[in-house]
């Protein structure tokens, strides 16, 4: 790397912050692409890209939000190259399956994960950011490069779809193996990618 605009101390700070968000990157990636090994590859790709682009990071702003944009863009690119098929890792889901105390019929996290993976990508990421990652609608909108209202509506639709799938127990098994569905997803991805504006601008 030739462009060293950052001092050693700044690099150390950057690295420390990057290190802190890695677990969050892994969680976001796992939710997006479903498979632990692919998710981790994606995170490592993200870390390298973030490191290479560190002079574009504004100290004092959210490292988590900044790196999520990078991860998201890498994911969309890989999706379009067909790398992720939304495969579902049964083992991982079983391992993390837990039954909250005091509920007669707890949601199985494996069902939850599978249902999540059947959502169109832009709704899935909106729900992950807001519902799981704890981002505000505003932050999520910046990460996705779209309007706050768009995020709200995506979260609302994702929420409704999940609720109905989980309530009816009607979770498509392998939605993404269906070629028509896969094509539809790719088309939607183009729309999502087109909205990369605000936060993703580089």
């Amino acid at each position: 790397m030739g462009s060293n605009k950052r001092t050693a101390a700044e690099q150390a700070d950057f690295k420390q912050e990057l290190t802190q968000v890695v677990p969050h990157l892994r969680a976001f990636a796992r939710g997006l692409c479903g498979r632990a090994d692919m998710a981790d590859d994606l995170v490592q790709e993200t870390m390298l890209k973030a490191w290479a682009a560190q002079q574009r990071f504004e100290p004092g702003t959210s490292m988590r939000a900044w790196t999520f944009v990078i991860l998201r863009n890498a994911y969309l690119t890989d999706m379009r190259r067909n790398r992720f098929r939304g495969e579902y890792d049964e083992g991982v889901a079983e391992r993390i399956l837990t039954a909250p105390a005091g509920q007669e019929e707890p949601i199985h996290l494996s069902d939850m994960h599978r249902a999540l993976l059947t959502l169109p990508p832009e709704r899935r990421e909106a729900l992950l950011l807001v519902g799981a990652g704890g981002f505000s609608y505003e932050e999520a909108a910046e990460i996705c490069g779209c309007a706050i209202g768009t995020i709200k509506s995506r979260v609302g639709r994702a929420r409704a779809a999940l609720t109905s799938m989980l309530t009816d127990g009607d979770i498509p098994k392998r939605h993404i193996d269906d070629e028509a569905a896969h094509r539809a997803i790719l088309e939607e991805l183009d729309d999502v990618a087109a909205g990369n504006g605000i936060a993703a601008r580089s």
Binding site: R6, L18, R30, D40, W51, Q103, I107, L109, T163
Partner: protein, 61 residues
């Protein structure tokens, strides 16, 4: 910022839907979603990540 210390679903969905068996409430799935996320956040970082992080230093200088 780092919303790292979320309450891990501790603000329970447990009692909210006591009467309904079938209906999955918002609180339930929201709780499940957070658990999915937090379970990964809480995993120990695989060595491959530590290796990568230690390599970054050399790359930068």
């Amino acid at each position: 910022m780092m919303a790292g210390n979320k309450d891990k679903g501790g603000t329970g969905s447990a009692e909210i839907s006591a009467t309904k068996k079938k209906d999955v409430t918002d609180a339930e799935w929201a709780n499940g979603l957070r658990q999915l996320y937090d379970s990964v956040v809480d995993e120990e970082l695989p060595d491959s990540f530590k290796d990568l992080l230690s390599k970054l230093d050399n790359k930068g200088d």
